[in-house]
Symmetry: C2
């Protein structure tokens, strides 16, 4: 089995920390654990990095599947260390972990920062010294591999298809007394979310939530939207499904059916200018700082007459960060904020400037990009027109 990026970094951190080995124990709802092991299981399982080898400790029923699906070099069953199935009993689990680690003659053990204190106490009572080591897993996750980039591109492509679908529904809707009607029914935010959920489910994506916020509701970036969609008002879509690969899509657009207030047109143009300016900075490629991207966006908004998050606690204007990294989690570090450091090749980011004004609503434009050595690659290919 080839060692992964995470394995190599763990070998380095074992060396640097003066420990004999590195242990994680969790179920695969812990994203770092799933990432390092390449294995999914709802019961907790162990991962040990020792002597440049990866060893998985799983329940007996999971052994066959772990041999097929995981990244590990060796799979061991908990039955080697007890006579019983140990799930659901934390004390039994601690005993198994103790025997497992002792089997390799490990005295000094490095663990992840979120390692359960109870397990550490139990291992220490058996003479094993336990301490946390530097978190290199998140560092590894930030630099996407080729196959991870493909998975993200797939997730974002499906997300874009959902945006095309959302746009087509707005486009095909008829306006009756200022309210959008679709298939002879009032078109609500709730109905559109159900349509999007169904559309995405058919493409192996799950959608827990999506923002479909019309008019003033969209002035609060946390309002997911509700009720009938109206003509002549901005409708903000932010669609963020998770693909069955585990990777997320995330994309926003703002549309208007009809004639928006002239202030909206000003807001939209400022947001599009800020968006393009952010991409302009990202053309510098790896090494440019996230702060430079974010500050450029703030500059553009401020020149257009809006307040930004740089001004401190504000109620209107550009209220949030310029974007965030994305992968097996929807929001991963780094974020594009005033303190962001240099961006690395292979980091995947959303770029999502937006404006929020109580009397008019919200505008947000969001694509997903890959930072490359000499520039960036946009994973989206969708127009930037608001007019439907």
């Amino acid at each position: 089995m080839t060692s992964t990026e995470a394995d190599h970094r763990l070998d380095d951190v074992i060396e640097e920390s003066g420990v004999d080995a590195y242990l994680q124990f969790d179920d695969s709802s812990d994203v770092n654990h799933r990432y390092v092991t390449g294995f999914e299981a709802s019961d907790a399982f162990g991962y040990l990095r020792y002597d440049s080898e990866s060893i998985l400790l799983v329940a007996p029923l999971e052994k066959g599947r772990a041999e097929k699906e995981s990244n590990a070099d060796t799979i061991r069953s908990t039955t080697e260390f007890v006579n019983d199935d140990v799930r659901d009993n934390i004390t039994a689990e601690a005993k198994v972990l103790g025997k497992f680690v002792a089997d390799y003659g490990i005295d000094h053990l490095g663990v992840s920062r979120d390692f359960d204190l109870y397990f550490a106490e139990q291992l220490e009572s058996e003479g094993i010294e336990v301490k946390t080591v530097r978190d290199v897993i998140m560092e590894a996750r930030t630099q996407k591999s080729e196959s991870e980039l493909e998975s993200l591109a797939t997730a974002q492509s499906i997300t874009e298809q959902a945006m095309v679908y959302a746009e087509s529904i707005i486009r095909e809707s008829e306006v009756v007394d200022g309210i959008l009607h679709y298939e002879n029914e009032v078109l609500t935010a709730e109905r559109l979310r159900i349509e999007l959920r169904q559309f995405l489910m058919d493409k192996q994506c799950s959608l827990d939530e999506a923002i479909v916020a019309c008019g003033r509701l969209a002035a609060d970036p946390h309002d997911v939207g509700s009720g009938p969609l109206e003509a002549d008002e901005p409708i903000l879509f932010d669609i963020y499904p998770q693909h069955e690969s585990g990777f997320w899509g995330d994309m926003s657009r703002t549309f208007v059916k009809g004639t928006p207030p002239s202030e909206f047109i000003h807001m939209y143009q400022a947001t599009l200018d800020a968006f393009e300016a952010a991409l302009g900075i990202l053309e510098e490629g790896a090494g440019v700082t996230g702060a430079k991207v974010h500050n450029k966006v703030c500059d553009v908004f401020e020149e257009a007459g809006y307040e930004t998050i740089r001004d401190g606690d504000i109620d209107e204007g550009f209220l949030h960060s310029t974007g965030h990294a994305i992968g097996l989690e929807l929001h991963e570090p780094p974020r594009l904020v005033g303190e962001s450091g240099e961006l690395s090749t292979g980091t995947v980011l959303t770029v999502e400037p937006g404006l929020y004004i109580q009397d008019y609503g919200g505008v947000r434009i969001e694509d997903m990009v890959v930072v490359e050595k000499d520039g960036y690659r946009n994973l989206n290919d969708f127009h930037y027109d608001w007019e439907l």
Copy 2:
């Protein structure tokens, strides 16, 4: 604010453990944390039990909501302990926790078993002794309050409505060449799952998965089912949605459209007998052991000529536990297995005997019951006929 059942138990465990206070720090995806605090937030927040008071430590933006929604007596903002928003930075979080705990003059701190080792290390480096205490939260969760029983009854009632709906679809289907057709299309497991998901979503329940397994597929209790549903074959439904209250429903039935193999009828009768025998034991009420319930089920299956999990590693027969407690998690302790202890008043359990035979498929019957002082209360009211 009235102290909750969990608060009282924590006061006892603080006393018993010789610590000054008890701390949890997590986001509300940790069910125990959500249960103790009554608060939901995607960023981690703190809960301190000190001097018979509950104190919440939240991000500044969450303070107002925490004051309205949480169980705590006092809400404090992280900005009291730093000048910055600390989310996304574990070292900053550790510093805030240290200052927060020190503000109460706490030297000896009890924490939950899953407390992050990294936080313990940081607190100890500031002179605070940290150790885990006995897990009394899960104990409290096992004894449902009146309002929790109402929430579970609601979740299970909606689950039963979904079962009524599933049954009606099978009933209304037409058989063409041995395959079920519904609304002029082949009726597949996938289609039925989509129908169930939509039905439950309209009733404020989310359904990640449901078993709709036809024929031999149902012989594997972990197969969720796929493909066209057939006449003259058992169709096993296991529906387990989560209500917006956080509580779960869980219910199983097995139907046949047409004429099943005679072996199925034998399997079904044995399962129904085992189910009724389990309820017969539960009539003894609180104090009866889960083991007695499970062993009675095994007795009935063995008398009917089937192997059971009591016989060790078996491939066919009664392959799993008789049931499990349920609440804010789908599977909670205790399980109804051979080693189960005495059941308490207010514990809510599934009772779900089943039989799995490679050549014929699977049968499972599952209701949800509340253990009461002198008996039990069945939260279901749905027939036990397989014939549609």
